[in-house]
Symmetry: C2
Subunit: 533 residues, 2 copies
Amino acid sequence: MRRSVIGSAKALSNRSCQNHWNVLLLRPLASSPSRFLSSTSVLDSPPPPPSSMLPVSLDNINPKVLKCEYAVRGEIVTLAQALQEELKSKPGSHPFDEILYCNIGNPQSLGQQPITFFREVLALCDHPSILDRSETQGLFSADAIERAWQILDQIPGRATGAYSHSQGIKGLRDTIAAGIEARDGFPADPNDIFLTDGASPAVHMMMQLLIRSEKDGILCPIPQYPLYSASIALHGGALVPYYLDEATGWGLEVSELKKQLADAKSKGITPRALVVINPGNPTGQVLAEDNQRGIVEFCKQEGLVLLADEVYQENVYVPEKKFDSFKKVARSMGYGEKDISLVSFQSVSKGYYGECGKRGGYMEVTGFGPEIREQIYKVASVNLCSNISGQILASLVMSPPKVGDESYESYSAEKDGILSSLARRAKTLEDAFNNLEGVTCNKAEGAMYLFPCICLPEKAIKAAEAAKTAPDNFYCRRLLNATGIVFVPGSGFGQLPGTWHFRCTILPQEDKIPAVVSRLTEFHKSFMDEFRD
Amino acid sequence: MRRSVIGSAKALSNRSCQNHWNVLLLRPLASSPSRFLSSTSVLDSPPPPPSSMLPVSLDNINPKVLKCEYAVRGEIVTLAQALQEELKSKPGSHPFDEILYCNIGNPQSLGQQPITFFREVLALCDHPSILDRSETQGLFSADAIERAWQILDQIPGRATGAYSHSQGIKGLRDTIAAGIEARDGFPADPNDIFLTDGASPAVHMMMQLLIRSEKDGILCPIPQYPLYSASIALHGGALVPYYLDEATGWGLEVSELKKQLADAKSKGITPRALVVINPGNPTGQVLAEDNQRGIVEFCKQEGLVLLADEVYQENVYVPEKKFDSFKKVARSMGYGEKDISLVSFQSVSKGYYGECGKRGGYMEVTGFGPEIREQIYKVASVNLCSNISGQILASLVMSPPKVGDESYESYSAEKDGILSSLARRAKTLEDAFNNLEGVTCNKAEGAMYLFPCICLPEKAIKAAEAAKTAPDNFYCRRLLNATGIVFVPGSGFGQLPGTWHFRCTILPQEDKIPAVVSRLTEFHKSFMDEFRD
């Protein structure tokens, strides 16, 4: 741990910052989930007095709900929404004329257009009675019409308004399994696929299955996407943090996994699973295959379920890296169904499609005995099934138009346009951050985020203390009030104690990026001037 | 309790059955949730041996998951699916040529057609770029086009592919609140609405909020829809049963609520909430307003949250009954936001629309302080939002076409056709059940189900015992194997100990009803002949 902290510190150029870090190294590193989560609290004002005539109060609700935090939609975002309302009702009331949301991976909310082919198919499946009409030929591409027919034929009774099989429509799972096979070069079984309303419910299902008490631990990267800390808190487990090494581009070192595993065990925690987010959220790194092999080996030896968040599998922006699924890596090591328990999460919300509002996704569940599969099926059944449009879309993203299809060219142009633009935006923002005093930013190799480290002057840290908030939250709130830019403070994701970060998405449309850069740069200069030691 | 049991027994004509009941009255009534749930076990065969090389086994998963049961998709349905496969691969292999699914409220899976107007709007919102095209005028009704524009204008950036506000799109919540106001004659606040992927996730959210441990109790009707027992089991609470009185048409008596509440308290259980399903599932009764007032008063006095499952609010089939929401009843008693905590669940899966696959729904949350609302909002935020098509559909069912709209006539014809057909099917099946030896069936006043009581001969009960299964499960399995008809055994919903029931939906299309009746009647006769004492 010490090594990587020192490594990270070296990466920072600001001298006073290094001193600050050295002081902080004397503090013990947080490792219990409650301690970790306490640092994410963003409630600055005391809660309102309970409505005493009513039966439910903060004193008598499930404490696991109280403990759960989700900063991506936390205090800063609530403030941003309030500012937006003010701008609407009182134009000119703030020193900016629009809110620039960089807080959440929600591409279409910022103007990204959906992929036409996917939407054509969805519309036709929603209203199949127009499929036979002549006007439809003029409105929809021929391959979209053909695909809609194919999909309808896979749905019993062509009933898109019926509950499906609890795991999702079998024909769509066949398509997805074929897509996984084509991606990995290893077989995939449609019976391993559980279609879900986005990846989040799938993560909850696995946490629910594995966590028995606060003595069951889930190894999670720090920084992490706060769905994991929230889900572990809601299910009453222990988050066992492992720290990504900022100095090596958010490297995931097996030595760190071993150290944290031993530490957790020494505290009486039973580690059950390891969460890996690849490409990383909020950190944007893409794991090398060799690294992945080490992680697979670690999970196998330690008897951990590998929970692989692979929702950014299509979001890789640098030529020197490529995405390999953990299943491909495990299979290429010769590990099969009997050797390693592995769950891969995928979502229609990410990639180049960014269809967040459709809530489609799946998990591929391998390496669990039939008796456990039956339990997962049962829990899936309680909610009957995921939404059918999301199911259809999940099959489409795993089997897009192919060369020769009528839509192929326009589809490719849309896809490449989005991905190359994201790569440009990532680079521009990365450079902008690295040009700020006291800020260092790793490369966004993939995903949709940058997670720069900001070395805050002591005076700013004291001012935050006086304002009863975390320093990174203090910075983000000031930034928002001055510029309308919405970042999420690093404390919402977890960070090495005493370091401060924020997450910035690369999603504002390209014509907005210059405004983000110039407003941020100007704000940062004046902030540093105000608080420089 | 004794009174209602005797009342129910009187309603039965079969003499040996009465004797049987009298014996059973000596047994204590099950009241702990674990005892209740143990009777729902449908796993007859021993589980396969654990896959010992893998880390996850039945011995080390969350015991709450093990405890959860969901009979609507349980053993009988799994058997039905296997038979269906056999019929496909080996036609003629069974004494029937199709499976008649009467197990689940899934209308479109049995041929019910979606409401055209709703699907037109959904398709246009999925693919808005065709809204301006001239061909669209020929394919879609004018008011569907207009409504799609209205909805798109309510969505920030017209982005149907973006995550929405965690509670759902504000404009759609405005529409829903207006629909509730029009229904009830009392104000509804869009900020009280939480849009969800069907009603099930909303129920889970409330259980998660309220249940702290196995000492927290949720009063549930018996029989109940097993989502409730499953959700309480998954969240580790105690199901406190209250029995509906079969003799008075599944009456819900406040005296029974008081008795079970006192009983639970004497066992150290803290009752937190009362679940009422109105119209009833699986029981089909519609509560009278006077009864609802008594329930509201009970919740107010006992400090219980009233969880009102009102998903069948459009499914009322008898002229002497009508649906009143619990909120309307509470408000008409003068109880406001400060007096009673009330959550109403609604879904697009039921009603005349039956859009199960769209997974749309909402809960209206009233009578909770702002500090608790913030907690509910936070939990909703962890999953980001419900699917946008489901959100749109939830707004549509609460604001369908009005007199004068181009679609109004066809919409009304579709709606009335479905509801009047459901009423006819309910009556035909009810009569058929009442014509069977030893079977009594209450009226389906509403919802989509009948829940007849079957007085099984002692010999059949012994045969079930020998087959290591519950008598109602034994009957349903025999019925399925002989006829292809799929009922759900009453033990999946809970029933007065020693009584046996099954749930039958009224959803097979009208041309299939004669086959259900004749096959059932023939089977039942031969079953009774075989096992008559």
